[in-house]
């Protein structure tokens, strides 16, 4: 009850501060400091309260909303130059104005380069893992190499891919393929070896063919590992495509827009692109996680969660 009252006070306080900041009132710093303390108190109360499901979301949501409100108040109140940090309201306004441009960049980078590269990279990694699962010699040769590649800055191949596949999305997709291939390979190989010796023996005693063993035993057992790789690869793919565009692209794409607009000091548009990228990355990850819950409903981590 008292937490609810506190929440109302915090919300009203931040609303008042925002109005005052936009009106150019004095003493914003003091008000912001007081509100930050109140908000921290509220977050602490919410965080310490026992809560599952939706109630558990209250603490992070209030924390995020408070941080956003403080950002707005401080940036507007102290007149921070846009080059340093634009206010959230300025970014939102820019997103509304430049929506067609943002959509075009999103289509170029995400719908073409990321999705194509992700599908090819994950598919190829999985295919090689299937082969390595049958040929033990290959598995023992590939696994250390696959983990070694994880220590390398793979994204650096971007200029080479641009040289080979041109400026358009194909070269970005090639970078994404290279970045997503090895995590998928290593995880799939580990996953395909995850089925226990007992289960394998059982399949053999049923005289199951290699295909049946794969389909009925090894693949289901490998699913949690495969989904781990799919989840790791989701943000990697987006990073690969965006960074690859730093090395040259047609006059559209999220990475292209970020570099050119940052050079022109149009930071509100840059932030708008970042937000699009963040939302796209989170949504992509979320979709894979949802698919994981649907596909591995039998796994303990899903049943208990």
């Amino acid at each position: 009850m008292r937490t609810g009252l506190l929440a109302v006070v915090v919300a009203a306080g931040f609303a008042g501060l925002m109005v005052a900041a936009h009106a150019g009132a004095a003493g914003i710093g003091l008000g912001a400091g007081a509100m930050a303390l109140l908000a921290a108190w509220l977050v602490q109360r919410l965080g310490d309260a026992p809560g599952e499901g939706l109630a558990g979301l209250a603490a992070p949501l209030v924390f995020g909303a408070s941080a956003l409100a403080l950002w707005e108040v401080l940036v507007v109140g102290f007149g921070v130059p846009m080059v340093l940090l634009p206010a959230p309201s300025a970014i939102a306004a820019r997103m509304a104005v430049s929506a067609p441009l943002l959509w075009q960049d999103f289509g170029q980078t995400f719908l073409k380069a990321v999705l194509a590269g992700y599908a090819i990279g994950c598919g190829a990694g999985f295919a090689l893992a299937l082969l390595a699962d049958r040929v033990d010699f290959l598995r023992r040769g590939l696994l250390p190499l696959g983990s070694f590649v994880a220590a390398l800055p793979v994204v650096g191949i971007a200029p080479i891919m641009v040289m080979w596949f041109g400026f358009d999305w194909q070269s970005k997709a090639a970078v994404v393929v290279a970045m997503t291939f090895f995590p998928m390979l290593v995880n799939s190989v580990a996953g395909l070896a995850a089925a226990g010796a007992l289960e394998r023996d059982l399949m053999r005693s049923y005289a199951a063919s290699a295909g049946q063993t794969l389909w009925l035993l090894k693949l289901p057992a490998a699913l949690p590992f495969i989904f781990t790789a799919l989840k790791v690869n989701a943000p990697l793919a987006l990073i690969g495509a965006i960074v690859a565009e730093f090395f040259g692209s047609p006059t559209m794409g999220m990475g292209f827009r970020i570099t050119t607009e940052a050079a022109k000091l149009a930071l509100d548009l840059v932030w708008a692109e970042i937000i699009v990228a963040a939302v796209a990355g989170s949504a992509f990850y979320g979709l894979v996680a949802l698919a994981e819950r649907a596909a591995t409903f039998w796994h303990p981590s899903v049943r208990n969660g």
Partner: protein
């Protein structure tokens, strides 16, 4: 275990090198054929293959060309030269290591706070996890520009980007590690009426070390990537990222490949050192190898 995989690994590596040479011949063939046709020469097959593997600006350089270029730009040139790869590698390495230190420090402190403050975990942790779905490297141009207006240039902006990439794996690993002691061990500490600080130093911290090293290795690789990418948007003059960018502008493939090989070498060496340190610490703590 180690010796069992030596032969397969060597075989796969040898196969990759053979494929690479075949690929170099195949990809550079058209380049050589055009040049020879313009010159009116008709070289035989062996001559053609020799030429495809010795192009000054090949589409795909052969491994020995890259090694030669690496040798030339590291050993034969003085370190102070602007064309020396050692100089460029050092510029990137110093930024990566500074960022690594900052990121790891911040990550560990954050993990300690999260383990001890329940409210912090429940309010901040979801955002830390969510922040990793954000393509962090896309923020690099913003950090560079924003710090540039404050008059900060050179090492620090790059280090900050590297640090931002570093802290996450360390925080996640350490939170898991600090929680790794089971209820039994914690109960034992309670029966000894150990204080919170004693539980932390004598139980939680040692238990978290394997997780710390796993996080550090990921963070190290991420720091190098961060430092390289941070050199791209600002038009940096030195560093491996700058070499990559300049090479791609002027079509200097050998320069790109040698910078890439150097980056891989630096990254793999640093991660290798962490692996050695990990084994040394584990031995010191009494783990039987």
């Amino acid at each position: 275990m180690m010796s069992r995989s030596v032969l397969p690994v060597l075989t796969v590596c040898a196969a990759l090198v053979v494929l690479w040479y075949l690929g170099a011949v195949w990809m550079n063939w058209q380049l050589v054929a055009d040049a020879q046709a313009r010159a009116g020469a008709t070289p035989d097959l062996t001559e053609m293959i020799r030429l495809t593997l010795a192009q000054p600006r090949p589409l795909l350089p052969a491994p020995h060309q890259i090694i030669g270029e690496l040798w030339r730009t590291t050993v034969t040139l003085p370190v102070t030269s602007r064309r020396s790869l050692v100089h460029h590698a050092w510029v990137t390495l110093s930024a990566a290591l500074t960022g690594f230190g900052m990121g790891v420090g911040f990550g560990v402190v954050l993990a300690v706070a999260i383990v001890h403050l329940r409210a912090l975990e429940r309010s901040v942790m979801p955002w830390i996890v969510a922040s990793q779905a954000v393509p962090v490297l896309a923020l690099a141009p913003i950090v560079i520009v924003a710090l540039g207006t404050l008059g900060l240039e050179g090492l620090l902006p790059k280090a900050i980007i590297a640090a931002y990439l570093c802290f996450f794996p360390v925080t996640i690993g350490m939170v898991k590690g600090f929680r790794a002691p089971d209820a039994m061990a914690l109960d034992l500490m309670r029966t000894w009426s150990a204080s919170r600080a004693q539980v932390f130093w004598k139980l939680r911290l040692p238990a978290s070390l394997p997780y710390l090293f796993a996080g550090l290795k990921v963070a190290m690789a991420a720091a190098v990537v961060g430092a390289i990418v941070a050199e791209l948007p600002a038009g940096a003059q030195a560093g491996l990222g700058a070499r990559l960018l300049a090479g791609s502008y002027f079509g200097q493939t050998l320069q790109i490949w040698s910078a890439l090989a150097m980056a891989a070498l630096v990254s793999a060496t640093l991660v290798g050192f962490l692996g050695i340190a990990e084994r040394a610490v584990a031995r010191r703590m009494g783990v039987q190898a």
